[in-house]
């Protein structure tokens, strides 16, 4: 399965890609009219008129001994009527320069051909060149509408059961890993990684409460990367059906005394950071409050790794 198709099963944010994919992959064979009414080239133009009236159609392929030889339409019939030649055989009036559609080609390709050539219908042939149907703009519209309906139904189904994505894949345990990179000193984008993570959680169907808890804790860690690190860091969020793990790691400078850093009100933030409202010394306290479990490993000169675990309430992700 294509990656995009896989993602689109996960939930809310990609109904358009799902619809797009369905429409793009819709084959002519699915929307064409079949079986098709045909006529022999030996028949008279008057017979064409009769067939069109009976079947309420405006054109038909001309077939001799199972071979497609031409196309006859109302325009040809009008010409014959004007000349009073409705007794003449079809072969004198039919179009032999045929513009065809393949039954296995995408509908959009065939539609483009209808538009660029201006013809009213395309006889549809299979790989062997055998006539299998006929395609008009009406067929295309009806087919696309049906595909849209199907896509909406599928998307709706996927949204109703977000957990199914995790359960559908063959593995002992499946998870989704989201990575966000945070630059040191980038106050302008402070909170962006957390906001994106929150959005992603909502997209896969997490409850707003859970998304908010994760976002607040991740925000504090993200700001720490911006304020304190030597070279920024990264946020890895691993989403499992029953819990979410967010790991925030950097490459230094490291925290000399982790226990001290965890005390409410303790801060080493610069004056610049404090002026922007940071440095309350509440970051790790907030994280502890929001996460169900958290741990920090830090070595001066090596870096810091913060791990936060959020339990997912039953059926909330």
């Amino acid at each position: 399965m294509k990656y995009a198709a896989l993602l689109s099963r996960m939930g809310k944010w990609s109904p358009f890609s799902k619809i797009h994919e369905l429409i793009r992959e819709l084959k002519v064979a699915r929307v064409m009219t079949t079986p098709v009414v045909t006529i022999s080239s030996d028949a008279a133009m008057a017979d064409v008129k009769e067939q069109m009236r009976i079947h309420r159609i405006s054109g038909m392929p001309v077939v001799d001994d199972g071979v497609l030889v031409g196309l006859i339409s109302t325009a040809d019939l009008i010409l014959a009527l004007e000349k009073g030649e409705t007794g003449r055989p079809i072969r004198d009036y039919m179009t032999t320069q045929l513009i065809l559609a393949q039954d296995q080609e995408p509908v959009l390709e065939a539609l483009r051909r209808l538009e660029t050539t201006g013809v009213g219908r395309l006889p549809v042939v299979d790989k062997q060149g055998k006539l299998v149907g006929i395609l008009t703009r009406g067929d295309v519209v009806a087919g696309l509408l049906q595909a849209l309906q199907q896509a909406y139904d599928e998307v709706e189904k996927a949204q109703g059961q977000p957990r199914r994505f995790f359960e559908a894949l063959e593995s002992d345990e499946t998870s989704l890993l989201l990575r966000y990179y945070v630059k040191v000193g980038d106050f302008t984008h402070g909170g962006q990684a957390s906001a994106r993570l929150k959005q992603a959680l909502l997209q896969i169907g997490a409850s707003p409460q859970l998304a908010r808890r994760v976002a607040i804790a991740t925000y504090e860690a993200e700001i720490n990367l911006i304020i304190h690190t030597t070279a920024g860091g990264q946020i890895l969020a691993e989403l499992r059906p029953d819990h979410i793990t967010v790991v925030v790691q950097d490459t230094g400078p490291g925290i000399p005394d982790v226990n001290l850093a965890r005390q409410p009100g303790y801060s080493t933030a610069s004056q610049v950071a404090r002026e922007m409202g940071f440095g309350a010394g509440m970051g790790l306290t907030n994280i502890e409050r929001c996460a169900d479990d958290m741990d920090i490993w830090s070595v001066v000169g090596v870096g810091t790794r913060l791990e936060m675990i959020f339990q997912v309430p039953e059926d909330k992700l």
Binding site: E220, M276, F278, M282
Partner: protein, 115 residues
């Protein structure tokens, strides 16, 4: 009480986010330290502050606040206004200092968590 009523009663200036003014206000919170706001403000709250940096918008957005009220008519940088617009965060300006702004909101019936 919806945001629009607070805007009208306190004569607040709308800097950004004219769209979501019909949101229900669930309460209020005042502080300038972002981590305190993160810990103390609830979704749907009005946040009264003197902070005007870009990160104010990120905090408001993450918490799902009803609006940020910048007190004392503190000048708000255009990039903050722009960001608020982008993210659909309602950004308001009050001519009154924090204390008076809060007092006026309380008089309207908007309360904090403890009251």
């Amino acid at each position: 009480m919806i945001v629009r009523e607070a805007v009208q009663n306190l004569n607040l200036t709308i800097l950004a986010g004219t769209g979501p003014l019909d949101q229900e206000v669930t309460g209020g919170y005042a502080a300038d330290l972002l981590s305190c706001v993160m810990a103390g403000a609830a979704a749907g709250n009005l946040w009264i502050t003197l902070q005007t940096h870009l990160n104010v918008v990120a905090v408001a957005s993450l918490l799902g606040l009803a609006a940020v009220v910048v007190a004392e008519g503190a000048p708000v940088p255009p990039e903050t206004v722009e960001k608020a617009r982008e993210q659909g965060v309602v950004l308001l300006s009050s001519p009154l200092p924090v204390f008076e702004t809060v007092a006026a909101l309380v008089a309207l019936g908007i309360h904090g968590r403890g009251t």
